[in-house]
Protein backbone atom coordinates (compact mmCIF):
# COMPACT_ATOMS: atom_id res chain seq x y z
CA UNK A 1 0.00 0.00 0.00
CA UNK A 2 1.42 3.39 -0.92
CA UNK A 3 0.59 6.46 1.11
CA UNK A 4 -0.71 9.19 -1.19
CA UNK A 5 -1.51 11.80 1.47
CA UNK A 6 0.16 15.17 1.05
CA UNK A 7 0.45 18.06 3.47
CA UNK A 8 -0.27 21.47 2.04
CA UNK A 9 0.45 24.15 4.62
CA UNK A 10 -2.35 23.96 7.17
CA UNK A 11 -4.19 21.04 5.62
CA UNK A 12 -3.78 17.51 4.34
CA UNK A 13 -5.08 16.20 1.02
CA UNK A 14 -5.96 12.54 0.47
CA UNK A 15 -3.77 12.58 -2.65
CA UNK A 16 -1.80 15.16 -4.66
CA UNK A 17 -4.18 15.34 -7.63
CA UNK A 18 -6.22 18.54 -7.73
CA UNK A 19 -8.26 20.23 -10.44
CA UNK A 20 -7.38 23.67 -11.78
CA UNK A 21 -9.85 26.52 -11.38
CA UNK A 22 -11.97 27.27 -14.44
CA UNK A 23 -11.53 23.80 -15.91
CA UNK A 24 -13.67 21.73 -13.56
CA UNK A 25 -16.73 23.92 -12.99
CA UNK A 26 -17.98 23.16 -9.48
CA UNK A 27 -17.15 19.46 -9.78
CA UNK A 28 -20.73 18.41 -10.42
CA UNK A 29 -20.21 18.83 -14.19
CA UNK A 30 -17.94 15.75 -14.00
CA UNK A 31 -20.02 13.61 -11.64
CA UNK A 32 -21.45 11.48 -14.50
CA UNK A 33 -17.96 10.33 -15.48
CA UNK A 34 -16.47 9.20 -12.14
CA UNK A 35 -16.68 9.55 -8.35
CA UNK A 36 -15.32 13.09 -7.90
CA UNK A 37 -14.66 12.48 -4.19
CA UNK A 38 -11.60 10.46 -5.27
CA UNK A 39 -9.86 13.71 -6.30
CA UNK A 40 -7.33 15.08 -3.80
CA UNK A 41 -8.70 18.62 -4.04
CA UNK A 42 -11.17 20.49 -6.23
CA UNK A 43 -10.60 24.16 -6.94
CA UNK A 44 -13.87 25.59 -8.14
CA UNK A 45 -14.42 28.28 -10.75
CA UNK A 46 -13.04 31.78 -10.07
CA UNK A 47 -15.42 33.64 -7.78
CA UNK A 48 -15.76 37.40 -7.46
CA UNK A 49 -17.69 39.63 -5.10
CA UNK A 50 -20.34 40.46 -7.68
CA UNK A 51 -21.86 38.72 -10.69
CA UNK A 52 -19.66 38.90 -13.79
CA UNK A 53 -20.85 38.19 -17.35
CA UNK A 54 -17.31 37.58 -18.60
CA UNK A 55 -16.03 38.55 -22.02
CA UNK A 56 -17.89 38.42 -25.33
CA UNK A 57 -17.76 35.37 -27.60
CA UNK A 58 -15.40 34.17 -29.13
CA UNK A 59 -13.52 33.31 -25.97
CA UNK A 60 -11.45 30.37 -27.12
CA UNK A 61 -8.92 29.55 -29.82
CA UNK A 62 -7.33 26.18 -30.35
CA UNK A 63 -3.54 26.31 -30.72
CA UNK A 64 -0.85 23.72 -31.44
CA UNK A 65 -0.89 21.49 -28.33
CA UNK A 66 -3.04 23.87 -26.37
CA UNK A 67 -5.75 26.49 -26.26
CA UNK A 68 -6.21 30.17 -25.58
CA UNK A 69 -9.11 31.29 -23.44
CA UNK A 70 -10.54 34.68 -22.61
CA UNK A 71 -13.49 33.72 -20.44
CA UNK A 72 -12.97 36.68 -18.12
CA UNK A 73 -14.11 35.19 -14.80
CA UNK A 74 -17.76 34.66 -15.68
CA UNK A 75 -19.50 33.73 -12.41
CA UNK A 76 -22.61 34.67 -10.48
CA UNK A 77 -20.80 36.23 -7.52
CA UNK A 78 -19.92 35.03 -4.03
CA UNK A 79 -23.44 35.33 -2.58
CA UNK A 80 -24.80 33.04 -5.28
CA UNK A 81 -21.97 30.61 -4.54
CA UNK A 82 -22.77 30.62 -0.82
CA UNK A 83 -26.53 30.23 -1.25
CA UNK A 84 -26.84 27.96 -4.27
CA UNK A 85 -23.61 26.14 -5.05
CA UNK A 86 -22.08 25.53 -1.63
CA UNK A 87 -25.12 23.54 -0.38
CA UNK A 88 -24.81 21.26 -3.44
CA UNK A 89 -21.09 20.52 -3.08
CA UNK A 90 -20.30 20.82 0.63
CA UNK A 91 -20.82 17.13 1.32
CA UNK A 92 -18.57 15.87 -1.46
CA UNK A 93 -15.93 13.93 0.46
CA UNK A 94 -12.85 15.82 -0.72
CA UNK A 95 -11.20 19.18 -0.07
CA UNK A 96 -12.97 21.93 -1.98
CA UNK A 97 -11.21 25.25 -2.45
CA UNK A 98 -12.67 28.46 -3.85
CA UNK A 99 -10.62 30.44 -6.33
CA UNK A 100 -11.08 34.12 -5.39
CA UNK A 101 -10.55 37.03 -7.74
CA UNK A 102 -11.28 40.73 -7.67
CA UNK A 103 -10.79 44.14 -9.24
CA UNK A 104 -9.70 45.86 -6.03
CA UNK A 105 -8.04 44.78 -2.78
CA UNK A 106 -11.35 45.48 -1.01
CA UNK A 107 -13.13 43.03 -3.36
CA UNK A 108 -10.63 40.28 -2.54
CA UNK A 109 -10.93 40.95 1.20
CA UNK A 110 -14.72 40.98 1.26
CA UNK A 111 -15.02 37.82 -0.84
CA UNK A 112 -12.42 35.99 1.26
CA UNK A 113 -14.08 36.96 4.52
CA UNK A 114 -17.46 35.65 3.28
CA UNK A 115 -15.87 32.32 2.29
CA UNK A 116 -14.01 32.16 5.63
CA UNK A 117 -17.41 31.48 7.24
CA UNK A 118 -18.05 28.32 5.19
CA UNK A 119 -17.22 25.28 7.35
CA UNK A 120 -16.65 22.83 4.52
CA UNK A 121 -14.28 25.03 2.52
CA UNK A 122 -10.79 24.43 4.00
CA UNK A 123 -9.04 27.04 1.88
CA UNK A 124 -9.04 29.57 -0.91
CA UNK A 125 -6.82 30.05 -3.92
CA UNK A 126 -6.16 33.74 -4.39
CA UNK A 127 -6.13 34.47 -8.10
CA UNK A 128 -3.74 37.35 -8.69
CA UNK A 129 -2.90 36.08 -12.14
CA UNK A 130 -5.96 36.08 -14.42
CA UNK A 131 -4.86 37.62 -17.74
CA UNK A 132 -8.40 38.10 -19.07
CA UNK A 133 -9.86 40.92 -17.01
CA UNK A 134 -9.36 44.63 -17.56
CA UNK A 135 -9.01 45.52 -13.89
CA UNK A 136 -7.36 43.57 -11.12
CA UNK A 137 -6.50 39.94 -11.79
CA UNK A 138 -3.03 39.72 -13.25
CA UNK A 139 -2.31 43.35 -12.41
CA UNK A 140 -1.93 42.30 -8.76
CA UNK A 141 0.33 39.39 -9.55
CA UNK A 142 2.90 41.10 -11.72
CA UNK A 143 4.63 43.25 -9.12
CA UNK A 144 5.99 42.21 -5.73
CA UNK A 145 4.45 45.27 -4.10
CA UNK A 146 0.86 44.76 -5.29
CA UNK A 147 1.06 40.99 -4.73
CA UNK A 148 2.24 41.62 -1.14
CA UNK A 149 -0.50 44.16 -0.53
CA UNK A 150 -3.36 41.94 -1.61
CA UNK A 151 -2.03 38.87 0.25
CA UNK A 152 -1.41 40.91 3.40
CA UNK A 153 -4.94 42.33 3.33
CA UNK A 154 -6.60 38.95 2.71
CA UNK A 155 -4.43 37.21 5.34
CA UNK A 156 -5.93 39.52 8.00
CA UNK A 157 -9.46 38.28 7.34
CA UNK A 158 -8.83 34.73 6.15
CA UNK A 159 -7.63 32.21 8.72
CA UNK A 160 -7.62 28.94 6.75
CA UNK A 161 -5.36 27.63 3.97
CA UNK A 162 -4.38 30.53 1.74
CA UNK A 163 -3.02 29.40 -1.62
CA UNK A 164 -1.79 32.16 -3.92
CA UNK A 165 -1.94 31.45 -7.67
CA UNK A 166 0.94 33.06 -9.51
CA UNK A 167 1.25 34.50 -12.99
CA UNK A 168 4.03 33.39 -15.34
CA UNK A 169 3.82 36.74 -17.13
CA UNK A 170 6.56 38.27 -14.95
CA UNK A 171 10.31 38.80 -15.01
CA UNK A 172 10.94 36.66 -11.92
CA UNK A 173 8.20 34.42 -10.58
CA UNK A 174 10.47 33.44 -7.65
CA UNK A 175 10.54 37.04 -6.42
CA UNK A 176 6.72 37.21 -6.44
CA UNK A 177 6.56 33.85 -4.65
CA UNK A 178 8.93 35.08 -1.94
CA UNK A 179 6.89 38.29 -1.57
CA UNK A 180 3.60 36.45 -0.98
CA UNK A 181 5.29 33.94 1.34
CA UNK A 182 6.53 36.85 3.44
CA UNK A 183 2.94 38.10 3.81
CA UNK A 184 1.64 34.78 5.10
CA UNK A 185 0.61 32.70 2.10
CA UNK A 186 0.38 29.03 3.14
CA UNK A 187 1.24 27.74 -0.32
CA UNK A 188 1.63 28.92 -3.91
CA UNK A 189 0.16 27.42 -7.08
CA UNK A 190 1.70 28.00 -10.49
CA UNK A 191 1.42 28.67 -13.32
CA UNK A 192 -1.71 30.48 -14.42
CA UNK A 193 -2.03 30.88 -18.21
CA UNK A 194 0.55 32.62 -20.37
CA UNK A 195 -0.56 35.69 -22.28
CA UNK A 196 -1.03 34.75 -25.91
CA UNK A 197 -2.81 35.70 -29.11
CA UNK A 198 -4.35 34.14 -32.22
CA UNK A 199 -5.12 35.78 -35.57
CA UNK A 200 -7.36 34.77 -38.48
CA UNK A 201 -5.19 35.72 -41.47
CA UNK A 202 -8.08 35.46 -43.97
CA UNK A 203 -10.18 37.96 -42.05
CA UNK A 204 -7.19 39.99 -40.76
CA UNK A 205 -8.87 39.87 -37.36
CA UNK A 206 -7.99 38.52 -33.93
CA UNK A 207 -9.81 35.28 -33.09
CA UNK A 208 -10.58 36.26 -29.49
CA UNK A 209 -13.00 39.10 -28.75
CA UNK A 210 -10.42 40.43 -26.27
CA UNK A 211 -7.55 40.13 -28.81
CA UNK A 212 -5.29 38.45 -26.22
CA UNK A 213 -6.00 35.49 -23.95
CA UNK A 214 -4.40 32.91 -21.69
CA UNK A 215 -2.53 29.94 -23.15
CA UNK A 216 -2.84 26.53 -21.48
CA UNK A 217 -2.27 22.89 -22.34
CA UNK A 218 0.84 20.81 -23.06
CA UNK A 219 2.34 23.74 -25.01
CA UNK A 220 3.09 25.50 -21.69
CA UNK A 221 4.36 22.49 -19.73
CA UNK A 222 8.13 23.01 -20.09
CA UNK A 223 7.77 26.65 -18.97
CA UNK A 224 5.59 25.65 -16.03
CA UNK A 225 7.97 22.90 -15.00
CA UNK A 226 10.90 25.29 -15.01
CA UNK A 227 9.02 27.87 -12.96
CA UNK A 228 7.91 25.27 -10.40
CA UNK A 229 11.52 24.16 -10.04
CA UNK A 230 12.70 27.76 -9.56
CA UNK A 231 9.96 28.65 -7.05
CA UNK A 232 10.37 25.41 -5.05
CA UNK A 233 13.99 26.35 -4.48
CA UNK A 234 13.11 29.92 -3.53
CA UNK A 235 10.39 29.40 -0.89
CA UNK A 236 9.79 27.22 2.17
CA UNK A 237 6.00 26.88 1.69
CA UNK A 238 4.54 24.08 -0.46
CA UNK A 239 4.27 24.59 -4.21
CA UNK A 240 1.36 23.28 -6.29
CA UNK A 241 2.38 22.57 -9.89
CA UNK A 242 0.07 23.51 -12.78
CA UNK A 243 0.64 23.72 -16.52
CA UNK A 244 -0.21 21.31 -19.29
CA UNK A 245 -0.34 18.14 -17.20
CA UNK A 246 -1.97 15.52 -19.44
CA UNK A 247 -0.90 12.27 -17.79
CA UNK A 248 0.75 10.74 -14.72
CA UNK A 249 4.22 11.12 -16.15
CA UNK A 250 3.74 14.88 -16.48
CA UNK A 251 2.45 15.02 -12.89
CA UNK A 252 5.43 13.08 -11.56
CA UNK A 253 7.83 15.43 -13.38
CA UNK A 254 6.25 18.38 -11.56
CA UNK A 255 6.57 16.60 -8.20
CA UNK A 256 10.21 15.73 -8.86
CA UNK A 257 10.77 19.41 -9.66
CA UNK A 258 9.43 20.29 -6.21
CA UNK A 259 5.62 20.39 -6.38
CA UNK A 260 3.88 18.90 -3.31
CA UNK A 261 0.65 18.59 -5.29
CA UNK A 262 -0.44 19.22 -8.87
CA UNK A 263 -3.51 20.58 -10.65
CA UNK A 264 -5.01 19.17 -13.83
CA UNK A 265 -6.61 21.81 -16.04
CA UNK A 266 -7.06 21.73 -19.79
CA UNK A 267 -6.71 17.91 -19.88
CA UNK A 268 -10.14 17.66 -18.19
CA UNK A 269 -11.76 19.01 -21.36
CA UNK A 270 -10.33 16.29 -23.57
CA UNK A 271 -10.55 13.43 -21.10
CA UNK A 272 -13.03 14.10 -18.29
CA UNK A 273 -11.45 11.20 -16.36
CA UNK A 274 -7.87 12.57 -16.72
CA UNK A 275 -7.55 13.13 -12.94
CA UNK A 276 -8.24 9.48 -12.20
CA UNK A 277 -5.74 8.28 -14.80
CA UNK A 278 -3.10 10.58 -13.30
CA UNK A 279 -3.89 9.35 -9.78
CA UNK A 280 -3.66 5.70 -10.79
CA UNK A 281 -0.46 6.38 -12.73
CA UNK A 282 1.22 8.07 -9.75
CA UNK A 283 0.31 5.09 -7.56
CA UNK A 284 1.69 2.67 -10.14
CA UNK A 285 4.96 4.67 -10.39
CA UNK A 286 5.43 4.62 -6.62
CA UNK A 287 4.82 0.86 -6.49
CA UNK A 288 7.18 0.26 -9.39
CA UNK A 289 10.01 2.02 -7.54
CA UNK A 290 9.08 0.65 -4.11
CA UNK A 291 8.38 4.13 -2.75
CA UNK A 292 5.97 3.95 0.19
CA UNK A 293 5.00 7.62 0.49
CA UNK A 294 4.30 10.07 -2.32
CA UNK A 295 6.02 12.87 -0.40
CA UNK A 296 9.32 11.09 -1.03
CA UNK A 297 9.27 12.08 -4.70
CA UNK A 298 8.65 15.78 -4.00
CA UNK A 299 11.80 17.63 -5.05
CA UNK A 300 13.61 14.33 -5.61
CA UNK A 301 15.12 15.47 -8.90
CA UNK A 302 18.71 14.23 -9.14
CA UNK A 303 21.09 16.81 -10.53
Amino acid sequence: MVNLKVKLGKIQLKNPVMTASGTFGYGTEYADFFDISRIGGIIVKGTTLRNRQGNAYPRMAETPSGMLNAVGLQNKGVDYFVNHIYPEIKDVNTSIFVNVSGSTIEDYVETASIINELDKIPGIELNISCPNVKEGGMAFGTSCLSASQVVKAVRKVYSKELIVKLSPNVTSISEIAKAVEAEGADSVSLINTLLGMAIDAEKRKPILSTVTGGLSGPAVKPIALCMVWQVAKAVQIPVIGIGGIMNANDAIEFMLAGASAIQIGTANFIDPTATMKVLEGIEEYLKRYGISHVKDIVGALEL
Binding site: Y30, D32, Y57, M60, E62, P64, S65, F269, P272, T273
Partner: protein, 256 residues
Protein backbone atom coordinates in the same frame (compact mmCIF):
# COMPACT_ATOMS: atom_id res chain seq x y z
CA UNK B 1 -29.58 13.16 -18.94
CA UNK B 2 -26.58 11.14 -17.87
CA UNK B 3 -23.49 11.73 -20.00
CA UNK B 4 -21.31 8.84 -21.12
CA UNK B 5 -17.65 8.59 -22.14
CA UNK B 6 -17.64 5.73 -24.63
CA UNK B 7 -15.50 3.97 -27.21
CA UNK B 8 -17.91 3.26 -30.06
CA UNK B 9 -17.18 0.93 -32.96
CA UNK B 10 -17.19 2.21 -36.54
CA UNK B 11 -19.66 0.02 -38.44
CA UNK B 12 -19.41 1.90 -41.71
CA UNK B 13 -17.75 5.05 -43.04
CA UNK B 14 -19.98 6.11 -45.93
CA UNK B 15 -18.64 8.73 -48.34
CA UNK B 16 -21.37 11.04 -49.67
CA UNK B 17 -19.11 13.13 -51.88
CA UNK B 18 -15.65 14.73 -51.73
CA UNK B 19 -16.70 16.92 -48.79
CA UNK B 20 -19.11 14.91 -46.67
CA UNK B 21 -19.25 11.46 -45.06
CA UNK B 22 -21.39 9.60 -42.55
CA UNK B 23 -19.87 7.63 -39.68
CA UNK B 24 -22.21 4.82 -38.66
CA UNK B 25 -21.29 3.78 -35.12
CA UNK B 26 -22.35 0.96 -32.87
CA UNK B 27 -21.50 -0.45 -29.44
CA UNK B 28 -21.29 -3.82 -27.70
CA UNK B 29 -23.74 -2.51 -25.09
CA UNK B 30 -26.96 -0.70 -25.81
CA UNK B 31 -26.43 2.90 -26.95
CA UNK B 32 -27.66 5.48 -24.45
CA UNK B 33 -30.91 7.28 -25.20
CA UNK B 34 -30.39 10.45 -27.23
CA UNK B 35 -32.67 13.27 -28.33
CA UNK B 36 -32.71 15.32 -31.54
CA UNK B 37 -30.56 18.44 -31.24
CA UNK B 38 -28.07 16.76 -28.94
CA UNK B 39 -24.45 16.31 -29.94
CA UNK B 40 -21.34 14.30 -29.18
CA UNK B 41 -17.82 15.52 -28.39
CA UNK B 42 -15.58 13.39 -30.57
CA UNK B 43 -11.92 12.82 -29.70
CA UNK B 44 -9.61 13.13 -32.69
CA UNK B 45 -6.56 10.89 -32.50
CA UNK B 46 -3.34 11.18 -34.50
CA UNK B 47 -3.87 14.77 -35.65
CA UNK B 48 -1.07 17.00 -34.34
CA UNK B 49 -3.02 20.19 -35.11
CA UNK B 50 -6.24 19.01 -33.44
CA UNK B 51 -5.95 19.36 -29.68
CA UNK B 52 -9.58 19.57 -28.59
CA UNK B 53 -12.54 17.29 -29.20
CA UNK B 54 -14.95 18.26 -31.98
CA UNK B 55 -18.65 18.78 -31.26
CA UNK B 56 -20.72 16.92 -33.87
CA UNK B 57 -24.52 16.72 -34.07
CA UNK B 58 -26.32 13.44 -33.75
CA UNK B 59 -27.55 12.83 -37.31
CA UNK B 60 -29.68 9.74 -36.74
CA UNK B 61 -30.21 6.99 -34.16
CA UNK B 62 -31.64 3.54 -34.76
CA UNK B 63 -32.07 1.78 -31.42
CA UNK B 64 -33.17 -1.55 -32.97
CA UNK B 65 -29.92 -1.76 -34.90
CA UNK B 66 -28.02 -0.08 -32.03
CA UNK B 67 -26.68 2.43 -34.53
CA UNK B 68 -25.74 6.08 -34.32
CA UNK B 69 -24.89 8.29 -37.31
CA UNK B 70 -22.66 11.35 -37.45
CA UNK B 71 -22.70 13.48 -40.61
CA UNK B 72 -19.32 15.12 -41.00
CA UNK B 73 -18.03 17.82 -43.32
CA UNK B 74 -14.30 17.81 -44.03
CA UNK B 75 -13.00 21.20 -42.97
CA UNK B 76 -9.60 20.63 -41.39
CA UNK B 77 -7.13 17.97 -40.43
CA UNK B 78 -9.30 16.69 -37.57
CA UNK B 79 -12.29 15.91 -39.75
CA UNK B 80 -9.91 14.52 -42.39
CA UNK B 81 -8.64 12.05 -39.77
CA UNK B 82 -12.26 11.09 -39.04
CA UNK B 83 -12.82 10.52 -42.76
CA UNK B 84 -10.05 7.90 -42.73
CA UNK B 85 -11.74 5.70 -40.10
CA UNK B 86 -12.54 2.18 -41.24
CA UNK B 87 -15.10 -0.39 -40.14
CA UNK B 88 -13.96 -1.93 -36.86
CA UNK B 89 -12.01 1.15 -35.68
CA UNK B 90 -12.90 2.66 -32.32
CA UNK B 91 -13.99 6.25 -31.83
CA UNK B 92 -14.06 7.89 -28.39
CA UNK B 93 -17.11 10.09 -27.73
CA UNK B 94 -18.78 11.96 -24.90
CA UNK B 95 -22.56 11.87 -25.35
CA UNK B 96 -25.36 12.78 -25.28
CA UNK B 97 -24.68 16.50 -24.73
CA UNK B 98 -26.90 19.56 -24.83
CA UNK B 99 -30.67 20.05 -24.90
CA UNK B 100 -33.30 19.17 -27.47
CA UNK B 101 -35.95 20.80 -29.61
CA UNK B 102 -39.35 21.68 -28.12
CA UNK B 103 -42.15 19.81 -29.81
CA UNK B 104 -44.71 22.51 -30.35
CA UNK B 105 -48.40 22.15 -31.18
CA UNK B 106 -50.40 19.00 -31.99
CA UNK B 107 -50.13 16.32 -34.67
CA UNK B 108 -51.96 18.50 -37.18
CA UNK B 109 -49.40 21.29 -36.84
CA UNK B 110 -47.51 22.33 -39.92
CA UNK B 111 -43.86 21.89 -39.02
CA UNK B 112 -40.99 23.15 -41.14
CA UNK B 113 -37.47 21.89 -40.59
CA UNK B 114 -34.87 24.05 -42.34
CA UNK B 115 -31.30 22.86 -42.81
CA UNK B 116 -28.37 24.45 -44.60
CA UNK B 117 -25.14 22.66 -45.53
CA UNK B 118 -23.93 20.30 -42.82
CA UNK B 119 -26.57 21.91 -40.58
CA UNK B 120 -29.06 19.43 -41.99
CA UNK B 121 -27.51 16.82 -39.63
CA UNK B 122 -29.80 17.29 -36.60
CA UNK B 123 -32.82 17.87 -38.86
CA UNK B 124 -32.81 14.24 -40.03
CA UNK B 125 -32.86 12.97 -36.43
CA UNK B 126 -35.57 15.51 -35.54
CA UNK B 127 -37.62 14.51 -38.59
CA UNK B 128 -37.44 10.80 -37.79
CA UNK B 129 -38.25 11.48 -34.14
CA UNK B 130 -41.28 13.63 -35.03
CA UNK B 131 -42.38 11.00 -37.53
CA UNK B 132 -42.29 8.32 -34.80
CA UNK B 133 -44.51 10.56 -32.68
CA UNK B 134 -47.04 10.81 -35.52
CA UNK B 135 -46.18 14.28 -36.79
CA UNK B 136 -45.69 14.96 -40.47
CA UNK B 137 -42.78 17.17 -41.42
CA UNK B 138 -41.77 19.46 -44.23
CA UNK B 139 -38.07 19.79 -44.91
CA UNK B 140 -36.55 22.84 -46.55
CA UNK B 141 -32.93 22.04 -47.36
CA UNK B 142 -30.41 24.39 -48.88
CA UNK B 143 -26.87 24.27 -50.19
CA UNK B 144 -24.44 26.05 -52.45
CA UNK B 145 -25.05 23.57 -55.22
CA UNK B 146 -26.59 20.15 -55.78
CA UNK B 147 -23.59 18.36 -54.22
CA UNK B 148 -24.32 20.12 -50.91
CA UNK B 149 -27.85 18.72 -50.71
CA UNK B 150 -27.32 15.64 -48.61
CA UNK B 151 -29.28 12.59 -47.47
CA UNK B 152 -32.35 13.44 -49.56
CA UNK B 153 -33.26 9.73 -49.70
CA UNK B 154 -33.27 9.59 -45.90
CA UNK B 155 -35.28 12.80 -45.48
CA UNK B 156 -37.89 11.57 -47.96
CA UNK B 157 -38.83 8.78 -45.50
CA UNK B 158 -40.11 11.30 -42.97
CA UNK B 159 -41.82 14.05 -44.93
CA UNK B 160 -41.99 16.28 -47.96
CA UNK B 161 -38.76 17.87 -49.21
CA UNK B 162 -38.23 21.34 -50.67
CA UNK B 163 -34.77 22.44 -51.80
CA UNK B 164 -32.83 25.52 -52.82
CA UNK B 165 -29.33 25.90 -54.24
CA UNK B 166 -27.41 29.15 -54.62
CA UNK B 167 -26.36 28.25 -58.16
CA UNK B 168 -29.74 26.86 -59.18
CA UNK B 169 -28.34 23.39 -59.93
CA UNK B 170 -31.19 21.79 -57.98
CA UNK B 171 -34.51 22.99 -56.57
CA UNK B 172 -35.31 26.69 -56.47
CA UNK B 173 -32.41 29.07 -57.03
CA UNK B 174 -31.41 31.21 -54.06
CA UNK B 175 -31.32 30.90 -50.27
CA UNK B 176 -33.71 28.81 -48.19
CA UNK B 177 -35.44 31.96 -46.99
CA UNK B 178 -36.29 32.83 -50.62
CA UNK B 179 -38.14 29.54 -51.25
CA UNK B 180 -41.74 29.98 -52.44
CA UNK B 181 -43.05 27.59 -49.78
CA UNK B 182 -42.49 30.33 -47.20
CA UNK B 183 -44.85 32.60 -49.12
CA UNK B 184 -47.45 29.95 -49.90
CA UNK B 185 -47.76 28.15 -46.59
CA UNK B 186 -48.40 29.26 -43.05
CA UNK B 187 -46.29 27.10 -40.70
CA UNK B 188 -46.94 26.65 -36.99
CA UNK B 189 -43.34 25.97 -36.00
CA UNK B 190 -39.91 26.23 -37.60
CA UNK B 191 -36.77 24.40 -36.49
CA UNK B 192 -33.47 25.28 -38.11
CA UNK B 193 -29.76 24.55 -38.16
CA UNK B 194 -27.14 25.84 -40.56
CA UNK B 195 -24.76 28.75 -41.13
CA UNK B 196 -25.41 31.69 -38.78
CA UNK B 197 -26.49 34.14 -41.54
CA UNK B 198 -29.05 31.56 -42.72
CA UNK B 199 -30.40 30.98 -39.21
CA UNK B 200 -30.64 34.71 -38.61
CA UNK B 201 -32.61 35.12 -41.84
CA UNK B 202 -34.92 32.25 -40.83
CA UNK B 203 -35.33 33.79 -37.36
CA UNK B 204 -36.20 37.17 -38.91
CA UNK B 205 -38.86 35.50 -41.10
CA UNK B 206 -40.32 33.64 -38.12
CA UNK B 207 -40.34 36.73 -35.95
CA UNK B 208 -42.01 38.84 -38.64
CA UNK B 209 -44.71 36.21 -39.11
CA UNK B 210 -45.00 35.44 -35.42
CA UNK B 211 -44.07 31.76 -35.82
CA UNK B 212 -42.58 29.63 -33.03
CA UNK B 213 -38.92 29.11 -34.00
CA UNK B 214 -35.94 27.28 -32.54
CA UNK B 215 -32.39 27.43 -33.86
CA UNK B 216 -29.47 25.12 -33.15
CA UNK B 217 -26.22 27.03 -32.58
CA UNK B 218 -22.74 25.79 -33.30
CA UNK B 219 -20.30 27.85 -31.21
CA UNK B 220 -16.72 26.72 -30.78
CA UNK B 221 -16.26 24.93 -27.47
CA UNK B 222 -13.53 23.22 -25.49
CA UNK B 223 -15.37 20.79 -23.20
CA UNK B 224 -19.01 20.41 -24.32
CA UNK B 225 -20.43 19.92 -20.83
CA UNK B 226 -20.44 23.30 -19.12
CA UNK B 227 -17.00 23.39 -17.50
CA UNK B 228 -14.90 25.71 -19.70
CA UNK B 229 -17.48 28.48 -20.29
CA UNK B 230 -16.00 29.15 -23.75
CA UNK B 231 -19.04 28.59 -26.01
CA UNK B 232 -21.33 31.28 -24.58
CA UNK B 233 -23.99 33.15 -26.49
CA UNK B 234 -25.71 36.30 -25.29
CA UNK B 235 -29.33 35.80 -24.26
CA UNK B 236 -32.04 37.57 -22.31
CA UNK B 237 -30.52 35.74 -19.28
CA UNK B 238 -27.00 37.00 -20.04
CA UNK B 239 -24.13 34.83 -21.26
CA UNK B 240 -25.08 31.14 -21.22
CA UNK B 241 -23.21 28.07 -22.43
CA UNK B 242 -24.39 26.79 -25.81
CA UNK B 243 -23.31 23.27 -24.76
CA UNK B 244 -25.58 23.02 -21.70
CA UNK B 245 -28.34 25.65 -22.14
CA UNK B 246 -28.37 24.92 -25.89
CA UNK B 247 -27.47 24.15 -28.59
CA UNK B 248 -31.20 24.67 -29.27
CA UNK B 249 -32.57 28.10 -28.41
CA UNK B 250 -35.93 29.75 -28.94
CA UNK B 251 -35.25 32.85 -31.04
CA UNK B 252 -37.02 35.03 -28.46
CA UNK B 253 -34.23 34.26 -25.94
CA UNK B 254 -31.29 35.09 -28.21
CA UNK B 255 -29.59 38.48 -28.41
CA UNK B 256 -27.43 37.67 -31.42
Amino acid sequence: MKKFLLDLIVKENKTLNSQYFILKLTAHDRLPEMLPGQFAEVRIDNSPTTFLRRPISINFVNYEQNELWLLVQMVGDGTRKLSQLKAGDLLNLILPLGNTFTISGDKYSRLLLIGGGVGIAPMLFLGSYLNDLGYSCNFLLGGRSESNLLQLDEFSKYGQIFTTTEDGSSGEKGFVTQHSILENTRFDAIYTCGPTPMMKAVAAYAEKNNIFCEVSLENTMACGFGACLCCVTDTTDGHVCVCTEGPVFNITKLKW
